[in-house]
């Protein structure tokens, strides 16, 4: 339990730092379509997998990777839907709906594909 809490704290701090760093890179890029690529950068993944591999080993990271394949494909599909959703509902509501689309696609696909 204590180990899980330490790991969660490490992931949180690391995740925040990596996301901020990638966001800074995205800020200085143009055009907006290209800087948008960095909105789907593997910042959280890098931060979390680093902690997992150092604290738990490579097997859990391997399993994380399998799940992330599904998550990545769901992200691409959700952002595609986002082009329409954000035009219709603007950024805040549109991006929350994008998260909803992601959940539906990822959980649906994951239930079918992941062992």
């Amino acid at each position: 339990m204590a180990n899980d809490l330490v790991m969660l704290a490490a992931k949180a701090v690391n995740g925040g730092l990596f996301v901020t760093a990638f966001a800074l890179v995205g800020e200085m890029l143009k055009p907006k379509r290209f800087s948008g690529v960095f909105a789907a950068a593997p910042s959280v993944a890098l931060a979390n997998l680093l902690v997992v591999m150092l604290m738990k080993g490579h097997r859990p990271a391997h399993d994380n990777g399998q799940g992330m394949i599904v998550g990545g494909l769901a992200m691409a599909l959700a952002c595609l839907a986002g082009v329409v959703l954000i035009r219709r509902y603007r950024s805040l509501r549109g991006s929350i709906l994008v998260c909803g689309v992601w959940l539906a696609v990822a959980v649906g696909l994951g239930t079918v594909v992941l062992p």
């Binding site: 948008g36 994380n64 603007r90």
Partner: protein, 175 residues
């Protein structure tokens, strides 16, 4: 020229300007405009998504937790900031670029799955990041290239001036 034709021409000019933008460019000076509050927001969202992914891993296993490593939890903060600073159109452009990034995330994950356990953590993550860069940048480049080709070919389509023979044929007037 009618109002509708003038509006259409203005819209086409705006669209054609976008294909003259560089495909990829950097403006390091823009970092000076980033506010501490915006960075703090990104940090908090990044930490929150990491905690959610971690809790899902603990509760439902590492594969389920891995899915959430690609959760678009940072998108609302990113896109609302873009909309506030620029426009909703810029925000739409941003999310369209994220499609290529999402495909890159899947490539990142494939590399992690294949290499984890076979090399050091640094090598696994370095190779995975390289895969994300290659796949997402290539995807972005291909899509933008196709888009610009489509704009250019539409631009060079012949447009019929008013009173063209086709109009005359339609109206049946030969004079």
């Amino acid at each position: 020229m009618s109002v509708a034709t003038r509006d259409r021409a203005a819209h086409e000019r705006r669209r054609h300007r976008s294909h003259r933008e560089p495909l990829i460019a950097a403006e390091p000076g823009k970092l000076r405009t980033v506010k501490a509050r915006e960075l703090a927001m990104r940090f908090v969202f990044g930490a929150a998504v990491s905690i959610v992914a971690g809790l899902v891993s603990i509760s439902f296993g590492d594969r389920a937790g891995g899915m959430f490593l690609a959760f678009p939890g940072i998108l609302p903060a990113t896109l609302t900031l873009i909309e506030k600073k620029e426009s909703t159109t810029a925000s739409v452009h941003g999310v369209s670029g994220a499609v290529a990034g999402g495909v890159g995330l899947a490539a990142f994950a494939v590399v992690v799955t294949v290499t984890a356990g076979r090399m050091s953590a640094a090598a696994v993550l370095g190779l995975a990041l390289a895969a994300w860069v290659v796949v997402s940048f290539a995807g972005y480049g291909l899509w933008q290239g196709a888009r610009r080709l489509a704009i250019r070919s539409r631009r060079h389509e012949p447009t019929l001036p008013p009173g063209h023979a086709a109009d005359v044929r339609t109206t049946g007037s030969g004079v």
